[in-house]
């Protein structure tokens, strides 16, 4: 029994140790040493954490990260629910439309970001060209070089990318609501809006919680690709998140300890969301069990 346990779980535990525990530990060790690329840096305790937290840009970084995450969570939920409600109906070509909504998921993020950077260009981008046609040349939007437009545009790209997840989860949630509940509501004379409010939304409660927590973990900890490629965190730090700052500290300024400190910070915040997610799952399984 024990031998089988070791045989089956051993590789998984070893892989987790090698690819997760050890790098996380190394990052933590790096964060409590001097900020230098030279070998054998001195131990400095929590000095890097104090320096990062007292940096004049720290509040801005946190705010940007939270706004970016909140924007993603809210819009993926809202738009995902809206599209899922449409896709939950029977219509000709439903399968095709459902497949079409998965396209953003399948598109490589870097390729998508580069296409968006061309579309968003102020002078030669297609979006401003179309706006110009519609407004007789009166209207043009500075998508990426003004604040807060840059953060809004980047959040929009991320929402586009994550939307399929929201749609799929919401669609699954909608299909798990028993039809009898809608029939009972109809018999009681409930309107369409009332059925949505009193049957659909409560029926999606657990899906909503799961989606929200997953999105919080993913968006907070992965707020990087499009931001790095399109604005580099600019203009003037307007779209700079904690994750991007960590990367730039390491690979542009060669400050490993500051980068590691920011990385540990992101990990701790994501862990809070992850623990909340696990607790929700545990409560759910107790209720079902």
């Amino acid at each position: 029994m024990n031998r089988h346990l070791v045989l089956f779980l051993g590789p998984c535990v070893a892989a987790l140790m090698a690819f997760f525990i050890v790098p996380v530990w190394q990052t933590f060790v790096m964060s409590v040493h001097a900020d230098t690329m030279a070998p054998n840096p001195a131990y400095v305790g929590l000095a890097n954490y104090i320096a990062v937290a007292s940096d004049r840009n720290f509040v801005r970084l946190m705010t940007t990260s939270v706004l970016y995450t909140a924007g993603n969570v809210i819009f993926v939920w809202l738009i995902g629910l809206g599209i899922a409600l449409l896709l939950n109906r029977n219509f000709v070509g439903r399968g095709l439309v459902r497949a079409a909504f998965i396209v953003p998921w399948a598109t490589p993020y870097v390729a998508a970001s580069l296409i968006f950077s061309l579309m968003f260009n102020y002078d030669v981008g297609i979006l401003n060209y179309l706006l110009g046609l519609l407004s007789y040349g009166q209207l043009r939007i500075d998508y990426l070089t003004s604040c807060p437009n840059a953060l809004i545009s980047l959040t929009g790209i991320s929402v586009w990318k994550l939307l399929p997840l929201g749609i799929v989860m919401m669609l699954t949630g909608l299909q798990s609501i028993p039809e009898t509940q809608y029939e009972a509501a109809r018999v009681d004379g409930a309107t369409g809006l009332q059925r949505f409010w009193f049957v659909t939304l409560p029926g999606l409660r657990s899906t909503t919680i799961t989606l929200t927590l997953l999105m919080m973990i993913w968006c907070f900890g992965r707020s990087f690709t499009a931001i790095y490629l399109l604005t580099g965190g600019g203009p003037a730090g307007c779209s700079e998140t904690l994750v991007l700052k960590s990367y730039l500290q390491m690979f542009q300024l060669f400050k490993p300890a500051t980068a590691a400190t920011l990385g540990v910070g992101v990990l701790l915040i994501s862990l809070v969301f992850a623990i909340a997610y696990i607790m929700v799952l545990a409560v759910g399984s107790r209720k079902n069990g």
Binding site: G125, T145, C147
Partner: protein, 428 residues
């Protein structure tokens, strides 16, 4: 019988073991010999290997060098520029250094200051070269009387002009700020998205943007650092910042576009002027023959400043495995024939002075400006604080973005940038 059989078996076993040992010894000797030859493999990772012009030069060099030095091979690992700087710094500091390192100005000084590079004095002396034989940016390779690298090639910045576009508008080549502004304003046409000039006006990686706008600042005579001290609040700096802010605010340059958008626009006749190194001539030639035939180059003349140049240095890390073979390759690059080959294949200025062949100047009139600037143009790295180049460029980039995109006036940016640079340098 059994005993005899066992004895025979034992002797056969011993004989087999003996044969195996002998074979193993021969193989190991051969292996050592082969290993000895393999040890002469020069590990030369670079972002140049796959570039059309630089790559062509390096491949030709590799073939020739390997044929003339039997047993020595060059490992031509391509590393994209976007990850090259990070990877090399990590490899070298972690003790896994390549044999040859390519580096641009600020990073190169940082390697020297961290004592990570091998002095090349002995190799250069044996080959008959001194520091005076090299172009001006070679001074960056000198510390405490030792030379830590050679300038491979340099790209001085000058103004590329599509003369046909200026002629059509009846405008002369700009020789001062007033004439420059006149061209920029006159050729801007929003209906056809035509521009008089392109300069970086977007948010993003500060290093790449600095290379785009720094030549303008230098032309005004504005220097972010002078002899190791911040000088970002001089009248020249305010003049340069105001000029930059004005052309962006007035929509006279492609806003939000990276160079991978506006360089093709220039090559396709949508932009009349662009400040770049001579590589731009080769790029235009391979992209649009018509624009290439209309190209003229002149020094950028907005004030009393000197032109800037971006230099690629080659060096040997201290913990490189094949220093002698690598040094031999570097000395080969410095030979007259190869220096001239650099010009012919890459359209850039090689590391040694006076190595641009007359035949190339006769065939490419636009190249003359660069040949003249090559010997005197100065490094774009902050003067006297080159080793902190990345940090300083990052600080400058943040202030430039604030000025361009959040409405902060040029004077205020100048004052605040100076204060931040002083604070930074005092912390070192």
């Amino acid at each position: 019988m059994t005993y005899i059989h066992t004895k025979n078996t034992n002797s056969r076993t011993a004989s087999i073991i003996g044969s195996c040992l002998r074979t193993a010894a021969v193989i190991s000797i051969l292996g050592l010999a082969v290993g000895g030859v393999q040890a002469q493999q020069i590990d030369y990772p670079s972002y140049h290997w796959k570039e059309p012009t630089y790559g062509a030069f390096l491949k030709e060099l590799k073939t020739d060098f390997e044929s003339k030095n039997p047993g020595v091979t060059i490992k031509d690992t391509f590393v994209p520029y976007t990850s090259y700087v990070d990877q090399m710094y990590i490899d070298i500091t972690a003790g896994n250094a390549p044999d040859i390192l390519t580096s641009l100005d600020p990073d190169f000084k940082r390697y020297i200051d961290a004592d990570l590079l091998e002095p090349l004095d002995a190799y250069l002396e044996a080959a008959g070269y001194s520091i005076d034989d090299f172009i001006a940016p070679a001074q960056l390779a000198v510390k405490d009387g030792h030379i830590y690298g050679i300038p491979f090639l340099t790209n001085p910045r000058a103004l590329f002009v599509n003369k046909k576009m200026l002629d059509k508008a009846g405008l002369p080549l700009p020789t001062n700020l007033e004439e420059f502004n006149k061209v920029v304003s006159a050729l801007r046409d929003p209906s056809t998205q035509t521009f008089g000039v392109a300069i970086s006006a977007q948010s993003g990686a500060p290093g790449m943007q600095f290379l785009e706008y720094a030549p303008y600042f230098a032309s005004f005579g504005a220097k972010f650092f002078t002899e190791g001290k911040p000088t970002a609040d001089t009248p020249e700096m305010i003049k340069a910042l105001t000029f930059y802010k004005d052309i962006v605010d007035q929509g006279l340059v492609p806003k939000g576009a990276k160079f991978d958008i506006y360089r093709p626009m220039f090559m396709n006749g949508k932009i009349a002027m662009y400040v770049a190194g001579p590589f731009m001539g080769a790029l235009t030639q391979s992209t649009n023959a018509e624009t290439y035939s209309d190209l003229v180059t002149i020094p950028l003349q907005l004030g009393g400043g000197k032109p800037l140049t971006v230099t690629n240095y080659l060096a040997i890390p201290k913990n490189a495995k094949n220093k002698d073979a690598s040094a031999k390759l570097l000395m080969t690059i410095l030979q007259d024939d190869w220096q001239k080959r650099i010009v012919a294949l890459t359209n850039t200025i090689p590391g040694r002075k006076g190595m641009v062949p007359d035949s190339i100047l006769a065939e490419n009139a636009w190249f003359k400006t660069f040949a003249e600037l090559g010997d005197s143009a100065t490094s774009y790295a902050p003067e006297g604080a080159e080793q902190y180049g990345s940090d300083i460029i990052n600080i400058i980039g943040g202030h430039i973005e604030r000025m361009l995109f959040t409405g902060v006036p040029a004077e205020q940016v100048s004052t605040e940038m100076q204060a931040d640079l002083v604070k930074f340098i005092e912390s070192k």
